[in-house]
Assembly symmetry: C2
Homo-oligomer: 457 residues x 2
């Protein structure tokens, strides 16, 4: 059986949100009260990865600082080859208190041995010194090239400069969103506001990720039993809600299960995947511990994580189509997840999407080799415009329908569409957010051996 | 644990072949005594798949006939969505006697329901009538488009014509090799001869496969427990050795474990994968049941299957590089297999090979998320020219070596090279034969929605 933090019913959050409305507001990590941010260029990206849209003087180091100690929860890659900053965070998260996060792009600080670990700690120590905080309450994250030691002189210069630039502005939150980009073509930000105890509470977040994307995160980085796991994605969420550590852990577990752990770009799980949420209580509401208050917070947090997770897939390397793969009627949730992932990661299915081909043969093939129990004669396959309930069936009970090829092509020709698979043998459901596999993806990732700085590891 | 028919030590056959020499001879399925073959064009390919090198009047139906009843063994896809001809073969194989095989390309007869099943049986009945044989001793295989019913008028015409053309010639064997091609760019044939009881014994075979390739076959098509499976490949082997059914089953099980079940092109396991071996005893040797005789036969059969399996990968859709992924030092064979498959199927690793990039970061990432136990600080990664024992290490005990980037690039720039991963924590070994992921693969498989005949399903 797959662990609960990887699997969850697809509609859980939809119903919660209906019950607990919120509004979307501008900004990201600085939208909640009491959070400062900054982002600078300190020449890590040029040293680390020279390729793509980020060549040149793009920001590559960011800071997020809470004015007061915040409770913190985290989810980390379950890859056994895990980066130094992940190790540092997974250790510090236990205490549950954070004051700041330092993050860089251009170098993943992964596969860098003992030096990497001491560099990751040194990054937090540098920031601690600069801001007169305790290093144990500072978290660190990195993304970029694997297997190259961190350019610590540049990092030190960057942390010093970024420390002087910290402020509450929306613009500064945006600088962090820029500083964490690697092959991302655009920054990813979202913020929401809802009422609690008669006061406005805000949650804001930013994330990055475009390749090496199929996160399978757990709260400790420990691997669940028998999970077919296969992103660097980083996500930082801030909130001025007051949330008890245990309740924050629980809320993040559920939010990630319904968002980041449900996306795939290329089926490769990264060494660096990290989600951190900091809750500093500056809204002045009562501390959230359980019950309806936690449910309300949970719904909004999940929404923030899901919106950010979808942005990652839409901006995936070479992606031209965003596809929501929904499996219903599986024997159980684990089977539904396995079937949806098999389809969402099949090279043949993904290339057919690129071609705008409403193929069902490759889809049946993929669910057939998945770990899910499948009875060919019971399977329905349908397409719909993204989010629409108007399903156009191409296959019913294992047999092609009379739907015209042209009408099916019209749905699949869209930039975004939904694929609905019903196995019709049980009540298990799962959703995976995926994308097509394009020539641009291959071209981008084949690297350029004449320029080793474009190559990972 | 993975079943024994999927996992086996990589060097098993090497040592057997040292002990039991054989010579390679021209030809394929008609090389052994007492086998007849023919291949014709009956317009299935044009009806089924219009794309690629096979457009136009290429052969699309083949026959292989033994002059006398032969013992037969088979291995079939473990995909739950399995084609009608596979169902027919898996049932008939139990009796263990075959007189003929009818095979077509252009239409997979998969996802075709009850009509498909009756069509598959009708194909054998048509041949039985034409040759005055029992349909129960005739086997059938199909490859091509999924989800379209068989053009039975064309098939009947083809079987009638092919029946009149049957003969022992090498050329006619070649016609079968041509008739089974789909996206293959070249026919695949091999034959060997060795001495037994003072008499020459021959094994000949042909196969096809270029996309939807990661076979995971079992003798019954039944799925082993907890195997991460993910080809259409078809393979037909003939021999004039006399082999008892049980011994033939055992020999094929081992041969496929070391060959077809160890290859991947795109990680997608097909609905139609089939390997059949027919042994008619025409060489006049004693019946092989066990001991040294079986060992000798086993070694030669494995060699034939492995050569054919490698031809599939080399001719995989869009393939520009053939890579042998060898994992040693794993906790056990199952772990070694999991690590090797994770690397061999990683989109990021495969695109790096396309670029000629001696990347190790993506390789560490892939083994790290595999089901194998991996300790980063113990991992060695090396490259060598294909088959060479001269290993050039890029990583030792988790740390980059001083090997120059240029020298590593020189190895990976070759059309064929070996990747050696040592986990250094146990004695488990595995080999997977893989290839790069190229823009041509994506271009080929994206289909052409203006020509639905190019699309699967």
């Amino acid at each position: 059986m797959t662990s609960s933090f990887l699997i969850s019913g697809p509609n859980t959050n939809y119903f919660l949100l209906m019950k607990h409305p919120f509004k979307t507001i501008p900004g990201s990590v600085t939208a909640p009260q009491g959070f400062l941010a900054s982002g600078v260029f300190c020449d890590i990206k040029r040293l680390g990865t020279g390729k793509g849209s980020n060549k040149g003087k793009k920001r590559d180091l960011g800071l997020i600082v809470s004015e007061t100690p915040a409770s913190v929860a985290g989810m980390f890659t379950t890859n056994q080859v895990c980066a130094a900053p992940v190790k540092v965070c997974a250790e510090r998260i236990k205490k549950g208190i954070a004051r700041a996060v330092v993050v860089n792009s251009g170098n993943a600080n992964a596969c860098t041995g003992k030096k990497g670990l001491s560099d990751a700690k040194a990054m937090t120590a540098l920031l601690a010194k600069s801001l007169k905080l305790s290093a144990a309450e500072i978290f660190v994250a990195s993304t970029g090239r694997i297997g190259v030691t961190m350019p610590m002189e540049n990092i030190a210069r960057g942390i010093a400069e970024a420390s002087t630039l910290l402020n509450h502005s929306e613009e500064n939150g945006h600088h962090v969103a820029e500083a964490i980009m690697t092959s991302d073509t655009r920054p990813k930000e979202v913020a929401v506001e809802f009422m609690m105890d008669g006061k406005p509470v805000r949650i804001g977040g930013t994330c990055k990720g475009a390749g090496m994307i199929q996160p399978g995160m757990s709260p400790t980085g420990a691997r669940p039993a028998s999970v077919p796991l296969h992103a660097t994605m980083l996500c930082f969420v801030t909130t001025d809600a007051a949330v008890e550590k245990k309740a924050l852990d629980k809320a993040l577990l559920q939010a990630v299960a319904l968002s980041f752990n449900r996306i795939t770009v290329d089926g490769d799980m990264s060494t660096n995947d990290t989600v951190l949420v900091l809750a500093n209580g500056k809204s002045g509401t009562k501390t959230i511990r359980n019950g309806s208050a936690l449910e309300k917070f949970q719904a909004a947090l999940t929404h923030v994580c899901l919106e950010l997770a979808k942005m990652i897939v839409r901006d995936g390397e070479g992606v031209s189509r965003f596809v929501t793969v929904r499996v219903d009627g599986a024997r159980n949730a684990s089977d539904a997840d396995a079937a949806a992932r098999a389809v969402a990661n099949s090279s043949l299915v993904k290339t057919s999407w690129f071609g705008g081909d409403p193929n069902w043969g490759r889809i049946l093939d993929a669910i057939g080799y998945s770990a899910a129990t499948v009875v060919e004669e019971k399977v329905d396959v349908a397409y719909s415009p993204s989010g629409s309930k108007k399903l156009l069936y191409s296959l019913k009970r294992g047999q092609p329908t009379s739907a015209s090829f042209k009408s099916l092509c019209e749905v699949v020709a869209q930039k975004e569409f939904d694929l609905h698979i019903n196995l019709n043998i049980g009540k298990g459901s799962a959703v995976i957010y995926s994308c097509d596999l394009t020539e641009d993806y291959v071209d981008f990732n084949k690297g350029d051996v004449t320029d080793p700085s474009t190559l990972g590891g």
